[in-house]
Symmetry: C2
Subunit: 343 residues, 2 copies
């Protein structure tokens, strides 16, 4: 039975924004009940729209990361990369972004300038422009520092059709690099952990990886997803559910850099739950899987890219983990909120 009944005293929990099972219930049992639309229904990272005869991708994200500056990035580079990457995951070449600031009265103008400089640089890297914007200022205490929303549009490449719904039995799952670096960098900064420069956020716009990949393998790539909130575990469960397929994940094949593994052990996190902001999962036809990994590793500067799993022919909708120690278990959608304000 749904928790979400009219007239109940039910309240929003942190976990409702965590990318896991509670968030998916909020989306399905509340948001989609009111907002159902053809474009929204696939719950991909971006929507596909038919506009003026073209195929446009459209996406939005709000960024509430705390602290706003952390090793390897800040809320500015994150806000641009996040929406650029969501458009790429739909097979689009990002072209224009909107930028909405909500600022707390008293926020340092110097910090705003530092964030803007980072936005400018990331826009240049991603070859996108800020086309339209909005700035609101609220009273001290009504927001914690700065929140940023970006929305973005881009044209979907010809011959490309990507959706979490498109995974097919026999497909291979590939990850583009080591996981968890964004989440661990932010958590470490927030908690004052000294990591000796070993961990920096992976945040980056992935145009120069994803676009060449799609240009080469167009129709053989079935789904792309960037494992942000909820990490790899959430993204794989989303694909399994949307496609109605099983996914078998080989834990030992998942690239996790040693310092990330160490901090995860220290803090009790499973790296499979920790967000990335510059990595993607690709579900590809088995016939091109080796070639995709080779292209990523040798030409697209992704040395840790690897095949990490297969889409199984079994009963659909869940992810099975073959653990490093030889066991097998269901890899659930993360339930609670481990990492609030991580993006």
């Amino acid at each position: 039975m749904s928790d979400f009944r009219k007239g109940s005293e039910e309240r929003i929990l942190l976990a409702h924004g965590a990318g896991g099972s509670l968030m998916h219930r909020l989306i399905k049992e509340v948001l989609l009940k009111y907002l159902d639309s053809e474009e929204l229904a696939p719950l991909d990272d971006a929507a596909e729209l038919a506009v003026d005869g073209g195929r446009l991708a459209f996406s939005t994200d709000s960024f509430v990361v705390k602290p706003v500056f952390y090793p390897g990035g800040d809320i500015g580079s994150l806000a641009i990369s996040g929406t650029v990457n969501d458009l790429l995951m739909k097979g689009a070449r990002p072209s224009h972004l909107s930028l909405g600031f909500v600022l707390e009265e008293g926020f340092l103008v110097d910090d705003l300038m530092r964030i803007l400089e980072s936005i400018r640089q990331t826009c240049r890297e991603a070859q996108v422009g800020i086309a339209t914007g909005d700035t609101k200022v609220v009273n001290r205490g009504d927001v914690d520092g700065i929140f940023i929303n970006t929305a973005g549009i881009g044209s979907i490449l010809p011959g490309v059709s990507l959706s979490g719904r498109n995974a097919k039995p026999g497909d291979v799952v590939i990850v583009s690099g080591g996981i968890g670096e964004h989440g661990i960098a932010v958590m470490a900064e927030r908690n004052g952990l000294k990591l000796g420069g070993d961990i920096a956020s992976d945040v980056m716009p992935m145009n120069e990886i994803v676009l060449p990949l799609l240009e080469r393998f167009a129709g053989s790539v079935h789904a792309l997803r960037d494992p942000t909130r909820g990490g790899l575990a959430a993204s794989l469960n989303e694909i399994a559910e949307a496609s109605g397929v099983g996914i078998v994940l080989e834990e030992s094949a998942v690239p996790v850099r040693e310092p990330v593994q160490a901090v995860c052990e220290l803090l009790g996190f499973d790296p499979l739950h920790v967000p990335c902001e510059g990595r993607f999962l690709a579900v590809v036809d088995a016939s091109v899987a080796d070639a995709v990994v080779e292209l990523l590793r040798n030409e697209l500067a992704c040395p840790l890219a690897a095949k990490i799993g297969d889409v199984a022919d079994s009963e659909g909708g869940f992810v099975q983990l073959h653990t490093t120690s030889g066991g097998r278990r269901v890899l659930d959608m993360p339930a609670g909120e481990l990492l609030p304000r991580i993006c």
Copy 2:
């Protein structure tokens, strides 16, 4: 000299988000220094993009109104109407919106449902769909209840070219209805004033007014703007500055409903500074001005539509007010923050 120097201890003030002169300085001296782009430069309510051979309008707004429910509207109807109206001001037929929530831990699910119902109804009225969305939840105290960002796109009507830069000497300025109703309704609710049902927010999507107007008068309409933050005074100053023209405003011609006037006198507000969310200013060729007012009044359910001013041949960039009492003065861009969190 700019207040905004690197290394200063300058801080963001509420007035930097108020729609007036301090906000325009923040935009020009900080934001545009980093984000300059062809699309952003005109500072219209929406940007015009060339995408896939079509002309697309693209706009964004964040909504932080407090309280979230008030006579005549709520943050949900406001978030949809605000972005829909910004697209209309660029001469576009709104088609798709994005919707980003930032929720405070502990927010009542019932209130979220009430807001979603209002979003659904307003989308239906405006004939737009929510194509993509995002939901973040932050810790209690990190945001005040709920903030919403919407971005939107729509195709610009053929033969229509609207910009605050297009006002020409001899043009006539028209307003579509009584001003200030949104701002006064929100302020009254916030301060517990009992208005006996006399004032409700004017918030509404204006498709059914603006689209027929543009279909009939296409090229003779030069600029449209909805006077939200900073009210009529800010919008007229923006147009005067962007077009390098003078504007003469006849105070006695500006429609202000009696209860709005009364509350303004009580609280010490100038109605010319109070935001509307369902009214627009049109700068039109003098040859069609009477016909535009007639269409608005008789066919488009805007009984208070009126000619309120002229674009003057004089030295440009400012607004002159002919006051009700027969005086003349410059109508400045509002400077400070009278009405925080009004939209």
